[in-house]
Amino acid sequence: MNSLTMLYEGRNLISEKPVVVIDIGRAYTKCGFAGESAPRCIIPSEFLCKSTGASKKVFDYETRDQLYQNFVEFGHILFFKYLLVTPKDRKVVIVESLLNPSLERDTLAQVLFSYYELSSVCMVPSHMVSLYTLAVPTALVLDIGYKEAVLIPVVENTPVLHAYQALALAGEAVELNLRKLLESQCKEEEQFYLKAKPLPNSTVEDIKVRGCFVTKLDRAQMIQASVKEPSVSAPTPPPDLPYPLGGDRSITIPGTSRELAYEVLFELDNDLMSIATMILDAILKCPLDTRVSLAENILLIGGTSMALGLKSRLQQELLDLLVTPQYIKKLALKKFCFHNPPAKENYVAWLGGAIMGATNSIVKRSVTREDYSKVPKIPDWADLSFNCNDGVKRG
């Protein structure tokens, strides 16, 4: 441990109860203490359901009451298995997505105040708070997590709300695509087996994370061309991958499946939308004189952006799209630069919350138990008075 860390952590000790920072994702929850450089845990957002004995996802709910119960159950795991602190009278920072439905944030706030009796709750939008990890005022933040890829440009610390983009192009889409590929590309007897007994989600995720990668643009283009035009030959696929399924069963993951799983994120099918067009379309919606600086300050966050080869492919795609008829007249950009925050992509937003949570600005942005008991509501983050009155605005 270097001296600076010691110094800092020493100071954190003085404040009696470190602020808790939680980012509950659709797939994984990141959770830890403000001022620390990484979350204490990144765990699946699920818990063991007492009535069925099976694991249940936190966001698997039909009614508000079920969601309330889910948050209560999951909170016990976070506080008593990982954070190991009494929740009562503690401050918490919740990192949340822009698209978080108000039902979810209101229910979470209710659980935190009424059930866990926290002293204050500070809800921060993940895209904005991610900039705390960079100390820059302007960046184009694209979060590719599990359910959706969500993009919000931030200019001079102000979110450009009307330019936001969201598409269901993230981890889940890749896994669905991989499933389809396996069911059509595996050996015939294996296809039969896969259809009769679909692989559990966790297995598909494991194949995705360990076995798949984002291929290069030129290869992707050759593969696409070969599908349309039989005279064009596809590049030699990567080697197949034998994959044990437990017991004495195993399947062979075809090289083509390994290479094509992530292509859903880039395919320009009917709607002409991919994670690359999201970026260009968002830039087009921003003021002219901010565009270069947005293109040169791209911040990719979310677990799916950690996939092997994703960043360089995205960059190639962006450059390639620039000269297509759709954009050539509209965008005068030359390069795209990516940030390297001091964190792994899947906890950048958490880290932003952890940095903010270690400063005095959370006092101002928090809703206290007392406030909440008078007006049981958390102000909407799109309410600009909440977002603009802040030190981060100056960067």
Partner: protein, 473 residues
Amino acid sequence: MAFLMYGDPKVKYLCSCGSMKPISRIYFCRHCMKIKCGFCVSHEVDLHYCSNCLENLPSTEARLKKNRCGYCFDCPSCQISLNTRAVSQAVPNPDDPSKMLSKKSYYLVCAFCRWTSREASIPDQNVANGGWPEIDCPNSKRVAELVDHYQEISLQEKDEEERKKKYQVRPSYFHYAEKYGLSAALAKKRMGGTPQRETRTQQSALVPAVASEEVEELSDSVFIEQLELNKVTTIKQRLASPEIQPTVVSQLYPLHKSLLVKRSLRCRDCEHNVSKPEFNPSSTKFKIQLSAFYHVPDVKFLTCEPVFIGKRSELIITVCNPTQHQSSFKMHPFELNLGAKGSGDAEESAPGLKLCLPECARDAQFKINGTIKLPTTEFQLLPRDDTAEFDDSNKGPTFNDDPKVVVWRRGNKIALRMAVSPDADAEGVLSIGFVIEYSYVNTMTTLEKKEPQKVKLKTHILLRPGPIFKSSQ
């Protein structure tokens, strides 16, 4: 049905919060004289300990060590505890090189998946416990700088605000952003004048991050080389060390074992503990354990004739007095509205802060679909006497029981016969309920009440004797 327990117990008690639980899972707060359950009590961390070496740590030390044991490790590959293995090596004696000495060295090994610390290229250690090199946190310095930077900004802003309050200075450009949106904020910035400029001079010299055009290329080897699956880490192994998230097995590093906690449970109404564990981590005993089992009459299902629609069936239950005091009880019809909404005593808390049990949990539990004919008399129950079981002389007092209702008595226990019948449209499992009103001697003495108090308490009980059959052919 989602909230019924598996192996659904036939008898459940209504907690003061509205949930229904078997008696083994509820508490009885002797101060409020109310039933409490795991859902509605307040949970607190009582003590931190390591499940491997059973050392317990004061909470400040646990915090310093980031809730991890300093001595024990988990396998980074499969997450079970690692063992220390010793090997002896013959080394030349430094004093007399002609003689050999046996020298012990130690490494970590997983008994389950065979992972060893040697795989992580960690040198063997000379002492059995501790001394293992710690892994560097690559980002902690930068993060600490960022925290300082933003802390400074937020303190400055606070100062400014206070000044503003004093002098009513002209509005800063944030107010433009706030009122007129982004374009106004940008316009102001282009004009170059933000009133904060001067005050920022003393700000720390943090270098803002610079994005790079260079990104890591996908290596061409992925298209050619055979991937060795067992050299690539799983996502679980990666996420077990969030800061590093090693992608290849050779980067796996032993994980300091996470501590566990024992919880104490506190009644939210009176703040008294209903459960507090003993300090000794290896003990499973409690300093305080106000299990309802020792305070509330224990109603057990004994037998029930098969239940048919349009027919009465005989149900036999037992009621047992678990206390040291004689008790009496009476049964009343189930009052459906009672306790069906939220916390029993919501009056004192604000609407948003009310502890509420989800509606769905209540609904499934309150579907009463039959009637029960309850005895109208009051029954006396003897105190619990642990020696009575070994005493066959049967010289206890006799009661003037109605043999149609009382099947038998044994010590502090009584078996009662009742008739149940399902509603005409009932299906599934028969659910019936009643209220038991019992006398309870509260031995908790307070300043005002020095004598034990005898009080009457009521508890709602739900019974599910068995499935309903359609016809009685």
